[in-house]
């Protein structure tokens, strides 16, 4: 598994702030191979979520080059970006993000709806995923009937239901207790063993340790920790 999943070269992200610009990502270089389990470790406000949005094709960098599976992302239109997100990427966002008017099962089915999967197949796969995250007895609960941790697990199930090649998780255990957090980490390792590429964003070094490779981000500057072997 030595294929390059994506390459980032001199990625800069700036936001206009009145007359000035605030630079959130500064010349980020990052290469990720297929099947890697990478953790991005950094303090609050360092640009982790911003980086994740760019990796997940939700946002475009101000400058720099981002090549995903040999394709320059900047050249893609809205529709092609949507297709990449649908096929390749599963998101777990920082905040709980279930849709209020749908039960857990329907929330997990949602990505499959946009992929045009048949209703029966959708329900089967969604249920399978919910069982995997330990919510087999909460299939028809609505968000207001679930705890924060349970909602987070629904979000994880939803990210995984399309069997994405890349799982992007922003503080996936932030709202979970230790034992549930451990279960999720075990699930991630299992998924990685199955060949999923995982990028996990966290500010917690103990969580980051579960990944096979850790990069630091401070003030928008990405660096490999000293003493680790990195791929050129």
């Amino acid at each position: 598994m030595n294929d390059i999943f994506f390459q980032m070269r001199k990625i800069v992200k700036q936001y206009p702030l009145g007359d000035e610009v605030s630079t959130v990502l500064r010349d980020v270089d990052l290469d990720v191979q297929e099947g890697e389990y990478l953790s991005v470790l950094g303090p609050s406000g360092s640009g982790k979520s911003t980086l994740m949005n760019i990796i997940g094709c939700l946002d475009l960098p101000t400058s720099g080059e981002y090549i995903l599976r040999g394709q320059s992302v900047e050249e893609l239109d809205e529709m092609e970006l949507a297709h990449i997100r649908r096929r390749e990427i599963g998101f777990i966002f920082q905040n709980s993000q279930m849709l209020k008017r749908m039960d857990a099962l329907k929330n997990v089915e949602l990505p499959l709806i946009y992929a045009g999967v048949s209703p029966r197949e959708r329900a089967r796969r969604a249920e399978e995923m919910l069982v995997k995250v330990g919510l087999q007895d909460r299939l028809h609960h609505f968000p207001n009937q679930l705890s924060g941790g349970q909602q987070q697990r629904v979000a994880i199930a939803r990210a995984l239901v399309t069997r994405p090649s890349l799982l992007l998780a922003d503080e996936p255990t932030g709202a979970l207790d230790q034992s549930t957090g451990k279960q999720i980490m075990a699930l991630f390792s299992e998924l990685n063993a199955d060949g999923h590429t995982i990028i996990m964003i966290t500010h917690d070094i103990n969580i980051a340790k579960h990944a096979k490779r850790v990069v630091n981000i401070i003030d928008g500057v990405l660096s490999e920790p000293k003493g680790e072997v990195t791929f050129a």
């Binding site: 939700l58 809205e78 949507a82 297709h83 649908r86």
Partner: protein, 406 residues
């Protein structure tokens, strides 16, 4: 093996799901949805009710015109300074024209009637001849009609209607009795049938209280020329031909002077009425369509609010792979559905209202499918047109801006 129908099936699955989501969103806030569709509902109700009622009125008017005898032409002949009307010989000449069955002069006056100390003013009297009864065979209730001998003799005989009978002959058989009209003694020879024709046309023309020989009426009026006639035809289809003949004849009679006569056919009255009614319905439908536009703006407003409220939802859906087009379709289905619910409710209400109006006005209620198609089509169009820009706005939302709001 790739199934060639896969994209189609995927599209249908997606559409069904969008429809479900739209229904869920509409029912999630029932009061707001109801208030939003109210405008469309009222507009469509008004359109359906107006069109159906007016077409009911107009068909009943044309029915009653036909029942009144479309086979007649009314001619008013004020005449010229030299010849201020038609003489009996002129009437005979007109009656002899091709395709003409007969001519009834219209002589009308208003008199004071008296009998046995009872008197009443404002009794309307029409002078007629035998053709009046040929063309209105149901007019005689009992006794006899006015005949050619009465006319030749200027007999003092009359036929009375139910009002006169009640006022002057309560409890007695009036046939053979006498009554004083403008101080002249008349013998009642016949009773006129109660006019069962309550149609608008009949109300407009009015039914006289008393009929008498036209010659007698002219004498009472100190009038020796007739200024109005009704020409009856053998066949209503000859109306145009007879009209042309009449014009030629009257032109010659009045030495080609202008404004000496006016010819009115039932057809021309009917077509004038029709034009008036269709202008009226166009005007009213125009006013009603303003309600539809206001309703459309209501839908647009609600959809825009809804897009803002659901920014997070939209962002999330986009993040998990919804195409802009799929988001747009979902919102468009929602506004279309809202508008159609209003439209269909409006159609039903409109039919109920127009059935009620038709029964009040005594006209026939017929379902006007054109009006229904118009109402439904209009609301579908309103839903799509006014839903378009909110749906587009939703589809253009950037997912990260949306997700930052969580």
């Amino acid at each position: 093996m790739i199934n060639p129908f896969r994209p189609l099936i995927a599209g249908i699955n997606m559409f069904v799901e969008s429809l479900r989501m739209a229904i869920a969103n509409i029912t999630a806030n029932k009061l707001r949805s109801f208030l939003t569709i109210l405008g469309i509902m009222i507009g469509v109700t008004a359109v359906i009710a107006l069109i159906t009622t007016i077409s009911g009125v107009s068909s009943s008017i044309s029915d009653s015109f036909t029942s009144m005898g479309a086979g007649s032409i009314t001619v008013s002949t004020p005449g010229s300074d030299l010849k201020s009307g038609l003489s009996s010989e002129d009437l005979d000449d007109i009656a002899a024209l091709e395709n003409v069955q007969g001519v009834t002069p219209s002589v009308s006056l208003s008199v004071k009637a008296a009998r046995n100390g009872v008197s009443e003013t404002g009794i309307t009297v029409s002078g007629v001849n035998e053709y009046y009864f040929i063309n209105k065979p149901d007019a005689l209730e009992s006794g006899r009609s006015i005949n050619p001998i009465d006319i030749a003799d200027m007999s003092r005989v009359c036929m009375i209607g139910s009002d006169v009978m009640e006022s002057f002959f309560y409890g007695v058989n009036p046939i053979g009795q006498t009554i004083y009209l403008a101080g002249v003694q008349f013998t009642v020879v016949g009773i006129l049938a109660e006019d069962t024709d309550t149609s608008i046309a009949s109300i407009m023309s009015g039914t006289p209280d008393i009929l008498m020989p036209y010659t007698t009426a002219m004498k009472m009026n100190s009038q020796n020329l007739v200024t109005g006639i009704t020409v009856y035809m053998n066949n209503p289809d000859d109306t145009e031909d007879v009209k042309t003949l009449l014009e030629e004849h009257l032109d010659a009679l009045f030495s080609f002077e202008d404004d000496t006569y006016t010819i009115t056919t039932m057809e021309s009255i009917e077509s004038t009425m029709d034009t008036m009614l269709s202008m009226m319905s166009a005007l009213l439908a125009g006013i009603a369509s303003i309600a539809l536009i206001v309703g459309g703006i209501g839908i647009m407003n609600m959809m825009l609010t809804s897009v803002t409220e659901r920014t997070v939802e939209i962002g999330l859906k986009k993040a998990i792979g919804a195409e802009p087009g799929q988001i747009q379709i979902q919102f468009l289905i929602e506004s279309f559905l809202l508008s159609m619910i209003g439209g269909v409710t409006g159609v039903v209400l409109g039919l109920v209202v127009s059935a009620a109006m038709c029964s009040v006005m005594g006209t026939n209620f017929t379902i006007n499918y054109g009006a229904i198609a118009l109402g439904v089509g209009f609301s579908a169009a309103v839903g799509i047109i006014f839903g378009w820009s909110p749906a587009r706005k939703a589809s253009k939302l950037s997912p990260i801006d949306a997700l930052r709001r969580m």
